[in-house]
Amino acid sequence: MQTLTRVRAIVNEQPVEFLCEPRQSLLECLRDILGLTGSKEGCNDGNCGACTVILDGRPVNSCLVLGVEAEGCRITTIEGIARGTELHPLQRAFLNQAALQCGFCTPGLIVAAKALLDEDPDPSEERIRAFLANNLCRCTGYDKVVRAVQDAAAAGREEVPA
């Protein structure tokens, strides 16, 4: 019989507690145990970034983290980006720019872009492209994604009174 380990963490500002096998990735725990299926499994080996979550303030590939490693950590997934029913500026900008087609990469891109804007509210285009290098998209060609992030950055700056 497999032994299960208890993990306590803060996910999207909510304290959660779950049981998992040590061999389950954080991505599996989020999706299969906590029902947070927004984070996607593209490659399951760190290449595509579809599983990106923010772990203690830093974007990581959740398929390369064990669920048990999340003990005591603070995690933000795509489900925690909107404020209630109000979309995050990044989400609005992705819609306005039509920065998605199939949408499989979108959760990872938005979470990674949020981590970028949290750190740098006014990133250059080059910085945006470099920061999102681990988020692969097979559909959009990236230009619209970059424009959406630029728009969201501008909207975010307007929100804060100078």
Partner: protein
């Protein structure tokens, strides 16, 4: 992924008591960016995994009398964010910057970079470190060897060392600190990488009951740089890389360390390039000559002769970059 027992020690002593005596029994988990894929593919099937991220002794970057000490569990992003590293050890910062994914840099560690397994696709597909078929025949020389070694490849190993920081650390004459339950030892990084002679040994001098606790880089050198030739700017290993450290006397080279990466089963120290540079000023011509000297002994395999020129260029550009000196 096969099931395993998970250990999460908070002290170094506890971590060391959890290690195994034979390779394969226990794996150390730091960033997990290499270990987890190896375990998913069942190339590694440890019965226990020891997470060392919560061991405080393994963190931090400090200036000490012996030089800069970098804890094994320092992430590549922390390394890159360190103003001290960027300013004083540009060859190391250049190498860390090359790992172009924020997600990987946020998890991957300095110790993990040194201990990561080769990217050789035969190894990654279960043919063993020396990539042999069931009859013991080496698969690389007549196989898909476009990313394999062009130096030090007379067998039995044909893979290239995957470490990105190794060449820079060797160029700086850094030391790696290892600990086991029965004591600790210091090994020059240059001696840490070894060419394995059989499938059950490793490509590093670490013993199964040891872990890397940190790196010490002797104090500041004047000029250094790393240059990597890559197919893609992100999420890729270099095709060839070179780290150089120059000790200048006026405008000429008093001493040089030229270390190539991704060309041999270990980082490759080129005495030939160092000799070619002695007493010379660094310019386009001398840098080109040093690159030629470094690769004079290259023995490319059937599909990787193109790497010889890339490696020459890496040496040349690293030298020119070091000579220009950037803060």
């Amino acid at each position: 992924m096969q099931a395993f027992e998970y250990a999460n020690p908070s002290t170094l002593q506890e971590a060391l008591s959890l290690l195994g005596n034979r390779w394969g029994e226990v794996d150390v988990l730091a960033g997990g960016t290499d270990l987890l894929p190896l375990m998913k593919d069942e190339i590694h099937t440890p019965r226990r995994v020891v997470n060392i991220k919560n061991v405080k002794e393994l963190g931090g970057i400090q200036s000490t009398k012996a030089g800069l000490r970098i804890g094994a569990a320092v992430t590549l992003e922390e390394l890159l964010q360190s103003a001290l590293v960027r300013k004083t050890y540009p060859a190391l910062a250049d190498a860390a910057r090359g790992i172009a994914s924020p997600q990987i840099r946020n998890m991957g560690t300095v110790g993990g970079d040194l201990c990561q397994r080769p990217r050789c696709w035969y190894f990654r597909n279960g043919f063993g470190l020396l990539a042999r078929d069931a009859g013991g025949q080496a698969l690389v020389p007549g196989g898909e060897n476009q990313y394999h070694a062009i130096l030090g490849n007379s067998g039995p190993a044909y893979f290239v060392s995957a470490s990105l920081l190794g060449p820079a650390l060797i160029a700086y004459n850094a030391t790696v600190k290892l600990a086991s339950a029965s004591g600790s030892r210091d090994v020059p990084v240059e001696k840490f990488f070894v060419t394995p002679q059989n499938d059950s040994s490793r490509e590093i001098a670490l013993l199964p009951n040891e872990i890397v606790t940190g790196i010490v880089i002797p104090s500041a050198v004047t000029r250094s740089a790393t240059y990597e030739v890559r197919q893609r700017q992100a999420l890729d290993w270099p095709l060839a890389a070179a780290s150089v450290v120059l000790r200048m006397k006026g405008a000429t080279v008093a001493g040089a360390r030229v270390v190539l990466g991704h060309v041999a089963p270990t980082p490759w120290v080129s005495e030939e390039a160092a000799q070619a540079l002695a007493g010379k000023a660094i310019n386009e011509e001398t840098a080109t000559e040093a690159g030629k000297a470094a690769l004079a002994g290259a023995t490319p395999l059937s599909q990787n002769a193109y790497k010889v020129q890339l490696a020459r260029v890496a040496v040349k550009r690293a030298l020119l970059q070091a000579a220009r000196g950037r803060a």
